[in-house]
Amino acid sequence: MHIPDGFLTLPVAAATGVAAATAVGYAARRAGREMGESAVPVLGVSAAFIFAAQMLNFPVLAGTSGHFVGGLLACLVVGPWNGVVVMTAIVLLQALLMGDGGLTALGANVLNMAVVGGLLPWLLVRALGGSVRHTRTSYLAVAGVAAWLAVVLASAACAVELAVSGTAPVGAVLPAMVLVHSVIGIGEGLLTVGIIGVLLSSRPELLRGYPPPLSLSPSPAGFRKRAWGVAVTGLVVAVLLAVFVAPWASSQPDGLERVAETQAFTDRATDQVAAQTPLFDYQFPLLGDTPWSTSAAGAMGTVVLFGLVVLLGRALGRRASPDGAEIGHDGT
């Protein structure tokens, strides 16, 4: 569900970015207020747990498998705003160190996984918590359904963002995403039930987002007011961006859909490639004299040039990395 770069147009990226930044900014301030210096270790280890659990594949139906997302779980375990911080930290790490999920899509990914797939279903649990009887079974059932809903909602949000960007037709991508994720979501729900069940029976006090009539710990009135102001402003800006900038942008040539309608790509693209770079001025023998052939030739040329530049970089670069310096680079 991590959207890479290039799948969203810049206005969509900007609008989701503003909305996500607002939510995360507010959440970060609240988390700091509520937890003080214990915030970093408690939220950090919780984030590490969700990060690790996200690599867990579980069987769903007929040989298919899904992987865990954990937005709602985070909110149930550490509390709603802390949960948003936890999920944002994970999405940031994945984008910046693992290359999973795009940078311009950061806002959208945070919005989908932390807000739509975390905070929103948590609110549902909270609302339902008031009306169902407070038994372990009813709580687990509500949590399971909300976890399923979290995944479905997040996938729907993802589909809508792709559709608004013109990357995929809404009529196809929305049903497809929702359908697939309503199956994957079953696994998410069951996994959440299992995880929460263990905590409920052994250390219920560790569930900060628990007791169903979940009381948000009191925060100073002024702070809350100011935070609401920030939240509302952010939301308004995001909506304005979406309403006014998006149509303008989709009339620009970089709206993908528009290009598809108006331009036949091959002659233009390949003509230019051929005209600009003598290197590409030949045709790929297997494909004969077609536009495809020129494209293939261009691609081949790029690969060769890419390799040459990598080698140039290596020649100029450091000899060898010092012992242990490579911390990142996905050493799974």
């Binding site: 270790p41 006090e205 010092p322 012992d323 242990g324 310096a325 911390i327």
Partner: protein
Amino acid sequence: MTRAPAVPAVDISHLSFRYPDGTPALDDICLTIQPGESVALLGPNGAGKTTLALHLNGLLRGQGRVAVLGLQTVPANLGALRQRVGLVFQDPDDQLFMNTLGDDVAFGPRNMGLEPEEVERRVAESLELLGLDRLRNRPPHRLSYGQKRRATLAGVLAMKPDLLVLDEPSGNLDPVGRRRLAELLAQLDCTLLVVTHDLPYALQTCRRAVILNGGRAVADGPTTRILADRHLLEANGLEWPFGFTPPAPPG
């Protein structure tokens, strides 16, 4: 190291503690340790040893009076206290929370607000003392278990504590690691409290021993005498590992 000889390093009187869920953990403990002493805190699992250790820098606070290095463990003193009490935990992964060894060792000195040059000097010094200077840029997950154990000690020694508290320092160490650690502890000139159920190790590293059982201090005396008392050990769930012979009772 400046130390007023009159002030005990640890002065605990009538300390009791219950966990939030009601489980009693410490029951009317009285313990005084003079500066420069090395004391083994012995007892079976669940005796309250770790709980007592956590009281020494105010991470837990029970009923009764706890004064460490002349400072009461009240909130106003905690900052100063934690700079002077070095606590090394059982699981090194709990204590190595930074992403490189060098940063982890520097964590304490930086929190003390030392100048960057001084931080650097201390980090280099304690890494060298523990033979870790070549691993400075390693992330903790690429250290061996023994290296992690030494790294946690380096992180605490870089703060130059006056009281060093080690929780099960010999646990999971190979024989060479055990011996090296004991040699190192013998070199240090700070007050030492070793929490353990490893009797040979207690004998090797500490002059004095205190037995804790069921949250109560049940025996206190020279290690050689305590560890020679088979009945006392048996009554408190402690025993010499197979093949070891307890020391002959003194005198």
